[in-house]
């Protein structure tokens, strides 16, 4: 049932609007975007001789990257959505070919850290990068899962690009301010429980 609905073809502006609205239609819009250009996977297999697994990974990363850019309003509409998306897919395929030929790991989306560090100068960036690399991500993950559904959902939605105001509407909080306070409290709680075990 869900997949039938997701396969309904919407015009580009509609799908972009649904992604940007961060409302209840966003999940469907993400799935529709994925479904619409799924044939890229086959093209990746034929054109770049990828295994289905590799082609799927590259395509999924393409869609995730596109969703991030679309929700952030970084798609300027100079070309059609398909052309723009294919360009991202092609670039990721080329990256993947390089990774395969140099025996490196698969393409992963590790942009979040570097994106955030862009705000900082090189010296500050280097300090923070070293500290991040020393993090115990397994422990952090464990503590995140122990945090409770509400806190986890708050943090996840914010990480997914939803604003405090949009989270307030989605999770029925009174105001965006309440969301922000709750979210930061959750983050603080996570940090304390993480530091407690880490140190």
């Amino acid at each position: 049932m869900r997949s039938d609905k997701a396969l309904t073809i919407s015009p580009d502006p509609e799908i972009i609007q649904n992604l940007r609205q961060n409302g209840p239609g966003r999940r469907l819009a993400e799935e529709e975007l994925f479904n619409r250009y799924m044939y890229f996977i086959r093209e990746g297999m034929i054109k770049y001789s990828f295994t289905e697994e590799d082609a799927f990974d590259v395509y999924s990363d393409t869609i995730l990257s596109a969703i991030e850019k679309l929700t952030a309003g970084l798609f300027e509409g100079r070309s059609s959505l398909k052309t723009w998306l294919y360009r991202i897919f092609h670039n990721k395929c080329v990256d993947q070919v390089r990774k395969i030929t140099t025996n490196k790991n698969k393409v992963h989306r590790t942009t979040t850290v570097s994106d955030m560090l862009m705000h900082l100068s090189d010296s500050a960036k280097s300090v923070i990068q070293k500290l991040v690399e020393r993090s115990d991500f397994d422990l952090l993950k464990k503590k995140l899962n122990e945090l409770g559904d509400n806190c986890r959902k708050l943090l996840m939605l914010f990480a997914d690009g939803y604003s405090d105001k949009e989270i307030a509407i989605s999770m029925e909080y009174k105001t965006a301010e309440v969301v922000k306070t709750s979210r930061l409290r959750c983050l603080e709680k996570l940090r304390q429980s993480y530091n407690l075990l880490k140190n």
């Binding site: 997949s3 997701a6 396969l7 073809i9 993400e30 799935e31 994925f34 479904n35 619409r36 799924m38 044939y39 996977i41 086959r42 799927f56 999924s60 869609i63 995730l64 969703i67 989306r109 590790t110 979040t112 850290v113 955030m116 560090l117 705000h119 900082l120 100068s121 010296s123 500050a124 300090v127 923070i128 500290l131 991040v132 020393r134 993090s135 991500f137 952090l140 993950k141 995140l144 943090l155 996840m156 914010f158 990480a159 997914d160 922000k180 930061l184 409290r185 983050l187 603080e188 996570l190 940090r191 993480y194 530091n195």
Partner: protein, 247 residues
């Protein structure tokens, strides 16, 4: 909590240069603050990674389902209505031109073929003292159509009733492309009674098929039908052509 709020505000806002410098100075001077920044960034990265993983799982389900249902197809390009209209108009125009061309070449081809096979030369009587008609026919047969026409017309000036002179003058005009003049001679030929076969009407049809002005094709057809119905000269050819006539 104050630091967390400060860090959150820094990464989710638009800090100016002074705010950036202040933030960086604190990283450099306060190791616990630097640790908090690293934690914030590390957590954001982990959350994003988990989100991506969850979405990828959803995508995997969609992909497997689509594979099962054999739905992974490249969609056809949507065609805008104006493009359909333009395509239809072009198609109609091409079809129209093709139809006109086919009709034209259909009847004209029959006429050309007949002229090439039957009217290139005319019989000349061998004689020690060739008369003016034989001289004119020789000119006709040698391809000097203009010269031949002049000679046939000279004969007609002295012998206005000469059926053969009218026929050959008409044929010379036809081959020279002087269709109206040719029609004039063939019409005059028609008035000659008592002949076993008179191809005058058939020649008129032939000339109309070559002239190909508005209405000529219909008239040519009527003439051919008359040839068949009245058992006139070139009846067999007329009947054959009528069978091939474009509808």
């Amino acid at each position: 909590m104050d630091s967390t709020e400060y860090i959150d505000g820094f990464f989710n806002g638009s800090p100016d240069d002074e705010q950036k410098k202040q933030f960086e100075r604190r990283i450099a001077s306060d190791p616990s603050f630097a640790e908090e920044v690293a934690f914030y960034i590390g957590t954001s990265s982990l959350l994003k990674g988990q989100l991506d993983q969850e979405k990828k799982l959803r995508f995997r389900e969609l992909f497997e389902q689509a594979k099962k249902d054999d739905r992974i197809v490249r969609p056809l390009r949507s065609i805008r209505p104006w493009r359909i209209s333009v395509a239809a108009a072009v198609l109609l125009m091409v079809a129209g031109l093709w139809w006109v061309f086919l009709r034209q070449t259909g009847t004209e081809q029959l006429a050309n073929e007949y002229i090439r096979q039957e009217l290139q030369t005319q019989g000349v009587k061998m004689s020690i003292h060739p008369d003016s008609m034989q001289t004119a026919l020789s000119a006709y047969n040698s391809g000097d159509l203009q010269g031949a026409l002049g000679q046939f017309e000279t004969i007609l000036r002295t012998d206005t009733a000469s059926f053969k002179a009218k026929q050959y003058a008409g044929l010379a005009c036809l081959r020279l492309g002087e269709y109206n003049k040719a029609l004039g001679y063939f019409t005059k030929m028609e008035t000659r009674p008592g002949l076993y076969t008179n191809p005058a009407v058939f020649y008129q049809a032939l000339t109309l098929m070559k002239r190909h002005q508005a209405g000529d094709e219909q008239n040519a057809r009527r003439h051919l039908q008359r040839v068949v119905d009245q058992d006139l000269g070139e009846k067999e050819t007329a009947a054959r052509w009528l069978k091939k006539w474009p509808q």
